[in-house]
């Protein structure tokens, strides 16, 4: 594990965490969405460094490219671009309760993460010319049924979204 690798790993992780913190504190939905896109790009970098190049590419294409564009589209369609005069952040007690809950959750997760020593890591994959094949092997042989059911899920989502967002229709 070279020093350069470690440095970039921490760099991407810190960018992700800092962008996420900025995301939850921005008042304007557009600014929040842009910081969330930044988080997703940093996560894509982490995926590539964890030898999941295919997932990293899909992360950029699907999450940062498609899902966040839909979010921004809805924000601008509903004309929510500028933050309201009153912030949508809850009052003092709501914030204290949420902060406490978040810290408690974080403490639990950290204890679980730090608790036991990590078992031996699998050896490095042979090369980078063969990164999609293992995913396809799992996806199209052992879990083919789940993959096909996912296509039905997408069909249901498309039909449901059209029905719900149709103007004047009885939703």
């Amino acid at each position: 594990m070279s020093l350069l690798y470690q440095f970039h790993f921490y760099l991407f992780g810190l960018i992700a965490v800092a962008s996420a913190l900025l995301f939850v504190t921005r008042k304007s939905p557009v600014a929040a969405a842009m910081w969330l896109v930044n988080t997703m790009f940093a996560l894509a970098g982490l995926y590539v460094m964890l030898d999941a190049q295919f997932v990293g590419a899909i992360q950029v294409l699907v999450y940062a490219g498609a899902i966040m564009v839909v979010f921004l589209f809805v924000v601008m369609l509903l004309n929510l671009g500028e933050g309201d005069a009153i912030s949508d952040v809850r009052g003092r007690w709501g914030r204290i309760a949420a902060g406490g809950a978040g810290l408690a959750l974080l403490a639990q997760l950290l204890v679980l993460t730090r608790g036991n020593a990590t078992p031996a890591v699998a050896p490095d994959p042979a090369g980078t010319e063969n990164v999609v094949a293992p995913v396809a092997q799992v996806l199209f042989t052992d879990h083919l049924l789940a993959f096909e059911v996912t296509s039905v899920l997408l069909l249901v989502a498309v039909v449901g979204a059209v029905v719900l967002a149709k103007r004047g229709g009885r939703a």
Binding site: V17, T39, D51, A52, V70, V74, G102
Partner: protein
């Protein structure tokens, strides 16, 4: 690096929970849920690297599909609610409150 990845994943998930609890804008709450899904995906990829197989990565593909479907339906619901109530403030959408 696996431990660090799980560490970052835990922090991102907690930030997502805080976002859901502190905001009232339905869209931002929705984006916080997406952040939590991303944190879990990071755990999947890290543990997949730990075990050496690609099953975790295949599961991440499934999670992304479900997240895309969820975004489509959820945003359609938000648009429908906005047409009725002219707001996405969850404190003012209280039709089911007794």
């Amino acid at each position: 690096m696996i431990t660090e990845a799980l560490f970052f994943s835990a922090i991102l998930f907690a930030i997502g929970v805080v976002g859901v609890l502190t905001r009232r804008n339905a869209l931002i709450i929705f984006m916080s849920v997406e952040l939590m899904l991303n944190a879990v995906n990071l755990s999947f990829v890290a543990l997949s690297r730990l075990h050496g197989g690609a099953l975790g990565q295949a599961f991440v593909v499934f999670v992304m599909t479900v997240a895309a479907a969820e975004a489509a339906v959820g945003l359609a619901i938000i648009i429908a609610v906005f047409r009725q109530q002219q707001t996405v403030d969850l404190d003012r959408i209280n039709l089911l409150k007794g």
